[in-house]
């Protein structure tokens, strides 16, 4: 039995007195798409930042492919094969769309610029940004910036992709397109994906497995159908009287 792609073990984070994440444990199997859901302030993005290495955890461990990567730092974890997007998008505003993606792609092929450009073009085409390749990134609309985040993370050729609310602000049709793109990547290249998402339409369509956080703790996990009928989940989303 091989190790899961990602194993989060008893992860915790305190910001001074505030316990943002507490004893969260879950696993992401190789080739799976797992969604992390929960109400606002549940600690989803903090959990993400702990996994990606943007923040050091107060306690617990993060294992990638069986290797301990806890507290390694964002750049080092990226080099281990984890690509991430930011909920609050962070484009390289002064560069073109294509150059943004090239920065990610330059990690490979010995840093050859023209090869990185070709690789970036393919990724941009996949995400339907191909016709905007030479536009400055600052000219993009928010949905396009979200796509650019995904493109840039993909360019680093991750084995695990962390997506932080990339559907937010997309129209239903665009959302379906993104779902199809991610499913394609998952099926064709076996890319493992962990996503934070509020758009339930996307969560239901995409996920093999759903983890629910509330007040920094895991309250439920299972298939999309299981968690959406779980009493605790209904309670935290809809209030007690609805249950």
């Amino acid at each position: 039995m091989t190790a899961p792609m990602l194993s989060v073990d008893n992860l915790g984070k305190s910001f001074r007195g505030l316990r943002a994440v507490n004893a969260v444990t879950f696993q992401v199997a190789r080739g799976d798409i797992v969604a992390l859901i929960g109400p606002n302030g549940a600690g989803k993005t903090t959990t993400f930042n702990l996994i990606a290495g943007a923040l050091p955890p107060s306690d617990g461990r993060v294992l990638l492919d069986g290797h301990d990567v806890t507290g390694m730092g964002q750049a080092a974890i990226c080099r281990q094969g984890v690509g991430r997007t930011f909920q609050i998008v962070k484009p390289f505003a002064g560069l073109t769309v294509e150059e943004n993606v090239m920065v990610g792609a330059l990690r490979h092929d010995g840093g050859h610029v023209e090869k990185a450009r070709a690789a970036s073009r393919k990724i941009l085409d996949l995400l339907e940004l191909g016709d905007k390749a030479t536009h400055p990134a600052q000219s993009l609309t928010l949905p396009d910036r979200k796509r650019l985040e995904v493109a840039r993370a993909l360019a680093t050729r991750p084995k695990l992709l962390l997506l932080d609310e990339v559907m937010a602000g997309l129209r239903p049709v665009e959302c379906d397109r993104m779902v199809a793109i991610l499913q394609g990547l998952n099926k064709e290249s076996g890319l493992t994906i962990l996503l934070i998402e509020h758009v339930m339409r996307a969560v239901m369509a995409l996920s093999d497995h759903v983890v629910v956080l509330h007040h920094g703790e895991k309250i439920a996990e299972g298939t999309p159908a299981e968690v959406t009928s779980h009493p605790k989940v209904l309670e935290c989303y809809l209030g007690e009287e609805h249950v």
């Binding site: 990606a52 943007a54 730092g73 964002q74 750049a75 080092a76 990226c78 080099r79 991430r84 930011f86 962070k90 484009p91 390289f92 505003a93 002064g94 560069l95 150059e99 090239m102 920065v103 990610g104 330059l106 990690r107 840093g111 610029v113 023209e114 990185a116 030479t134 840039r152 993370a153 360019a155 680093t156």
Partner: protein, 330 residues
């Protein structure tokens, strides 16, 4: 083609034309004109050196006079005391500058001193080095270091003793070299990584870029380039005073051309140097004609403000667009 010279490329042809024109200039220009052109080229070279750090990698230095001074004093003092050829002295100067730059970079980047606070750190280093040199007898302390001026009968490029036109060609070669070097950096992986760091450090980090290491490289390259310019100043002026070579005034003067021309662009430092010097000289002549003292400084300041308000990105991006060179040279 990226990285190689493509002669059908419009911007490359423009550059070659300019270079040929500049190479022929000493044949036509008088002494006064030649000294002004040397000033312009020196300003352009130093601006380029600063641009690597600020323009490409986004790390703000307000203390680049430090590296000018270290390069100037290292090569000057070695020449005065041991007769060491300036080009070897420049290597020593670069070594010392790199050591200082590494110290400033390591301190600043390790402890996340950013933006203006980082700039303050660079000023602090330049200032205490000035004070140190002011009291260091071996390099002449505050009364200055003087290079022997003799043997002007022929141009000796190895010892950098000779006519103004020799100095002109030396600084022209340095500008051309600096330009090609900057271009090569900007078009390679390192240039992309620097720009990513400049635009958003956190996102660059998330893409696996070793931000600390790349910022250190930028600071080190910039310092080494700047100190070579310092060597030129030492041998062109033949006198060095800590008061002027390490001054805050020089640090500011050094970056003005690049700011006016366009930070982060390849041609900006050159254009900025030309515009600033032309403006300065033109206003001096105008001021003499009008006969009001101090009118030059006021007009100079007003022009600079006008440029910065109207073209905050610098003159080159605007001119490049006007010339239809967009997508060509940066």
């Amino acid at each position: 083609m990226i990285g190689s010279l493509n002669f059908s490329d419009q911007s490359t042809r423009l550059l070659l034309g300019l270079l040929i024109l500049l190479m022929l200039a000493p044949l036509m220009a008088g002494d006064y004109m030649l000294s002004i052109m040397i000033t312009v080229l020196l300003q352009a070279y130093l601006g380029m050196s600063w641009n690597v750090m600020m323009g490409f990698a986004g790390q703000f230095s307000l203390g680049h006079a430090l590296y000018v001074g270290l390069g100037a004093y290292a090569s000057g003092a070695l020449f005065v005391h041991f007769g060491t050829p300036p080009w070897l002295g420049a290597v020593a100067g670069m070594g010392v500058s790199v050591a200082f730059a590494s110290m400033i970079g390591a301190l600043g980047f390790r402890f996340k001193v950013m933006g203006v606070y980082f700039a303050l750190l660079t000023i602090a280093f330049a200032e205490f080095t000035r004070v140190l040199f002011d009291h260091w007898g071996w390099v002449g302390a505050s009364s200055g270091l003087f290079l022997p001026v003799s043997n002007r009968s022929h141009d000796d490029i190895w010892l950098l003793r000779g006519s103004a036109s020799m100095f002109y060609y030396v600084i022209l070669a340095m500008v051309a070299g600096g330009f090609l070097f900057s271009r090569a950096l900007l078009r390679r992986r390192i240039g992309f990584y620097w720009q990513a760091i400049r635009e958003n450090e956190d996102a660059a980090d998330a893409l696996g870029i070793d931000v600390f290491r790349l910022k250190m490289i930028a600071v080190i390259i910039s310092a080494a380039m700047t100190s070579l310019g310092g060597m030129f100043i030492a041998f062109f002026n033949n006198n060095l005073y800590p008061e002027s070579i390490f001054s805050m005034h020089r640090s500011i003067e050094l970056i003005l051309g690049t700011i006016i021309g366009g930070i982060g662009t390849l041609f900006g430092p050159i254009l900025g140097a030309v515009v600033l010097t032309a403006l300065g000289e033109g206003l001096t002549i105008l001021g003499e004609k009008i006969g009001i003292d101090g009118i030059k400084q006021i007009a100079y300041g007003a022009c600079m403000m006008a440029i910065l308000i109207l073209k905050p990105g610098g003159l080159w991006p605007w001119l490049r667009h006007r010339l239809g060179l967009d997508g060509g040279a940066k």
